[in-house]
């Protein structure tokens, strides 16, 4: 049965090989005369300014990490909230423990100055 | 009576000496001396008791005590003393007394810890001689390395770190090989009986296939051969001896080599009779090679201590020869050589130590003409040179004669070759005398003769050598009884172990297969 598909497979193979072959050939054969203008990154005709690796203040990372933590808190709480009635009190207790642990973390971060910008 | 005092007494004495050494060196020395003397005295009393009841407890064990120790693995704290153990214990205790005496003035550094190590050697070796549980035996065997390691490493001579490391690694390696062999034996026993035990009395009768027996025997043999040392495994010995302090050399030559021989007597021969019979020729060749090679190399040495070390290898070759010749005469001879070599090697090492203490050299070329300045020491040297070459009337003559007589019945050509070793012994002993004491005093040595303390040590060794040479009968009785009992016990144990498995004919076949190697030969 699979024999019937063999020509299709062959066509795929031949076209893939053909594409690779042509690209490779042009890469090998083309003349190369780089100039600074040619080597410059293309930014829609603008001349690029400065280094692309800008330095951010480390405070941004702190905020980002805090965001991830509390964002994930939401991710975990939503399923519980959806099924709250079905899960009952034990579900509520479990969710409360989860929130309490994160609150302790928040308190620590607050006291440590993690929420102050300066 | 519990046998634990044999172990506890020297250990406690060692600890006391260590603690006392924090305040006073002299106290440490006296405590160590007192402990060793007390140990010796108690053992002599025990020996006396032995003679009053020569047919003791079942199995021939003079005294035994057994406590559960690690019951989960079938390990018990099983101690027992028979004639051979007793002789070895006496030797160990006696030489420890002498070791303490010889270090009286030469050791000045960390005296308390030094004596702790000396007495720990005594403890560990006593343990080796009386342990009847293989785990316990192995533990003591390994513990005996530690104090020697420190003795050589701390109080040794110029190249001590190399020597002590080499000594420790080679002997520990061989010990681990023995551990594997012990475990193998235990597993074979466990597979055939379903009982996990390390007890000597249970394991001695283990029935196993010839191949298994051969490999296990080889494991034990190599472990003991390293200690003995048999020639390809001997390289640690000259280095360790040369670098060790005098007492360390005494302990090494007098005692540590003996545990190799003791192990062969106690474990290899009774446990694997068939494998031993197959192996006899190889072992006897190794023994003869050891005798000749040791003697030859002794002749080539320029370092006096190293020379004495090589003579040890030669003498221990006779022990191996005797053990593997296997008949009553040869085994008795081996036991006597173990004792006599303990005396003579200890005396020679003490002499070298005394010389080195005075002249600060061990170079044979730098000695000469010392008889003129120290005639007493020269006389002692001559006596032990004679003892070493096997002069009739002295201890080693008895042993070597018995061994050669026994070995002659087993293999004549090898025995003839071995007796060439006696000639070589004459050459190196006299050569040593020549180099050190005779001739002109070219080194211009002006040294004191032996002190009263040194003379006491030597006198006791001379006394022991003479006594063993002239009247060896008590020793022969003691060891002969133990050897016979051991052989009988092993055969009986094997017969009982074989019986429930096969039919009657199979059982009798097993008994026939276990008939001792040369015991029944004329």
């Amino acid at each position: 049965m699979s024999d019937a598909y063999l020509p299709i497979l062959l066509i795929f193979g031949v076209s893939a090989l053909n594409a690779v072959f042509m690209v490779a050939l042009s890469h090998i054969l083309n003349p190369r005369r780089p100039t600074p203008q040619k080597a410059m990154p293309y930014e829609s005709g603008m001349i690029p300014l400065g280094d692309t690796r800008a330095r951010f203040s480390v405070k941004f990372y702190l905020v980002a990490i805090s965001f991830i933590v509390f964002d994930l808190e939401a991710v975990f709480l939503i399923p519980w909230a959806v099924e709250m009635r079905a899960l009952g009190w034990s579900g509520f207790v479990a969710a409360s423990i989860f929130v309490a642990v994160l609150t302790a973390g928040l308190v620590y971060e607050w006291k440590k100055g993690g929420l102050d910008w300066d | 009576m519990s046998l634990a005092w044999i172990l506890l007494l020297p250990f406690a004495g060692g600890l006391a000496a260590w603690i006392a050494g924090r305040w006073s060196d002299l106290w440490a020395r006296w405590i160590a001396l007192g402990t060793a003397l007390l140990h010796l005295l108690l053992l002599l009393v025990t020996w006396g008791v032995f003679f009053t009841r020569v047919a003791p407890a079942p199995g021939g064990w003079l005294m035994a005590s057994k406590q559960p120790w690690i019951p989960q693995l079938g390990i018990s704290f099983h101690l027992a003393v028979d004639g051979i153990s007793l002789l070895m214990l006496l030797l160990a205790s006696f030489l420890t007394v002498l070791a303490v005496l010889t270090s009286w003035t030469s050791i000045t550094r960390s005296v308390g810890f030094y004596h702790f190590n000396l007495l720990l050697i005594l403890t560990a070796l006593s343990g080796v001689f009386i342990a009847f549980d293989l785990f316990l035996f192995f533990a003591f065997w390994e513990i005996s390395l530690l104090p020697l390691y420190f003795l050589i490493g701390i109080w040794g001579y110029e190249n001590r770190v190399y020597a002590t490391t080499k000594f420790f690694i080679i002997t520990q390696g061989s010990g681990l090989l023995m551990l594997v062999a012990i475990l193998g034996l235990v597993v074979v026993h466990w597979q055939s009986t379903g009982v996990l035990t390390f007890d000597y009395l249970d394991l001695v009768g283990t029935v196993m296939s010839d191949t298994k027996a051969f490999w296990l025997m080889l494991g034990f043999f190599i472990a003991f051969a390293v200690k003995l040392p048999v020639v390809p495994f001997h390289t640690w010995l000259p280095d360790a001896h040369t670098q060790a302090p005098t007492a360390g050399s005494v302990a090494l030559a007098g005692l540590v080599l003996k545990i190799g021989a003791y192990g062969m007597l106690r474990f290899v021969v009774p446990m694997f009779p068939q494998a031993v019979a197959d192996f006899t020729l190889t072992a006897m060749i190794l023994a003869v090679v050891g005798i000749l090679y040791g003697a030859l190399l002794a002749l080539g040495q320029t370092d006096l201590k190293r020379m004495v070390a090589y003579t040890s290898i030669s003498h221990m070759g006779f022990v191996l020869l005797g053990i593997f010749a296997g008949n009553e005469l040869a085994l008795q001879g081996a036991v006597i050589i173990m004792l006599s070599h303990g005396f003579s090697a200890a005396a020679l090492f003490i002499m070298v130590g005394d010389l080195q203490h005075r002249t600060h050299t061990r170079e044979l070329g730098r000695f000469g003409g010392l008889w003129a300045v120290m005639p007493r020491m020269g006389g002692v040297g001559l006596f032990f040179a004679m003892a070493s070459l096997g002069l009739p009337g002295l201890a080693s003559f008895v042993g070597e004669f018995l061994v050669l007589l026994g070995a002659f019945q087993v293999n004549m050509p090898l025995t003839v070759l071995a007796s060439v070793g006696l000639v070589a012994a004459t050459v190196y002993s006299l050569w040593m005398m020549q180099k050190v004491y005779y001739g002109a005093n070219t080194g211009d040595w002006q040294v004191d003769d032996t002190s009263g303390r040194e003379m006491t040590v030597m006198a006791s060794l001379i006394g022991a050598t003479l006594w063993l040479g002239l009247y060896p009968q008590p020793v022969l009785t003691t060891s002969g009884h133990a050897l016979a009992e051991m052989k009988k016990f092993a055969a009986e144990a094997r017969a009982t172990a074989a019986r429930p498995e096969g039919t009657g004919s199979a059982a009798s076949g097993a008994v026939a297969a276990t008939s001792p190697v040369g015991g029944e030969r004329p």
Partner: protein
Amino acid sequence: MNPFSALTPIVLLGLTPLVLMLVISFHRSHRLAVVISLVGMALPLALLAGTATSAAPPLAPLLIIDGYALFYIGLLSTATMVVVVLSYGFLERVPGNREEFYLLLTLATFGCAVLTASNHFISFFLGLEILSVSLYGLVAYLRTTRTALESGIKYLILAAASAAFLLFGMALIYADLGTMDFTAMTSVLAAKTREPSVLLLGGFGMVIIGAGFKLAVVPFHMWAPDVYQGAPTPVTAYLTTVSKGAMVALLLRYGQYGGLLDYDSVASVLAVIAVLSMFLGNLLALLQDNLKRLLAYSSIAHLGYLLVAVIAASREGSHAVTFYLVAYFITSLGIFGIITALSDERKEADEISDYRGLFWRRPWVSGALSLMLFSLAGIPLTAGFVGKFYVLTAGVLSDLWALVILLVVSSVIGLYYYLRIIITMYLSAPEDPSSPLSATRRFSLPEGLVLAGLTVLLIWFGIYPAPLLSAIQAAVGSLA
């Protein structure tokens, strides 16, 4: 019995870092942090005495608190207490915040406790990650020094990579067996009579990679020397003992249930890993001059020995593994403890040359250190010997003769470097008066007590191991 009361030890261990965190927020005190962590570790221990006899209630599906788990939790939290005591003196001479160290330490132990009690891939992975994430912080705790940062980064990247392998392996096994629960795996595997599928074997391989990284066995050992050397010494002690111990505990349980050890191909892979670890660890340790680095390689070799008993997989094998671990815990904590306690503000005492002549200055300390090294080398009268003996016995009982012989040969190689350290202590001290002696710090009382206690235990279990053995047999017996 209420199944949740069985969970109390783990809950308490989990509460400790929380409490610590809140306390730090309001009142920063080094001493208080130490006290809280000690109490937090000691409370579950005290409770263990009460719960150890009770039958294991199945807290399906994630955790199982049986005697085995309790034994290991007790072992790990005791070891953590030792590390806490040692860390106090260490952190006192380090600039910066100290209290967070204990926060991370207790959190890591919580992760370890979850590992030892886990009966499911999910709890396995959760425990492992709690442990790993805390360890990243601990390893790089002295963040102003280059070496600590370097080792932190190394540990982070390699641990993350190995966790990925582990997850992939779990996924493969789940694909084949259709369950992540260890107990359920047993029945699924029992129903299968055919050869293991490629999926299953691939999964096993990935799990071995993940676990092998934590255990630092060859060829997953590359991080160990640098991390050992760069991390604060108490953390190194923790890495060697608690983190590896928890992983071994899990491996044993998983091996018992998950069929890891039932296939010859897996066993032979483990055997190759064990042999490589023993030899490479011991051989490379010969070349080291830094004590912490040397111990890293020595630890690689010791885990190799341990794997031999894991492969033995018999009843004796599990006992041997546990006993060996206990002995190894005592010994390693002792050695790293002595290194920590001897270091001062000027210099960490982690070069072998620092120990030259130590015996003549500090006979007790060097005596204890010699005993520890003898224990590592497996000389009788020490717990290490009984451990090695038990491992050899287990190997021989399972007919693993080749592995046993190789173990013996490689431990003879290992002797050399242990002896080298010991003999260095007994050499005479350098007589150059201009160079100040290192390793001169006096011990504080708690440090002295802890180290003395470890030494006594070392000898005690070396001479009379029967009580510990029966405890282990009772605990491990609940596994099967």
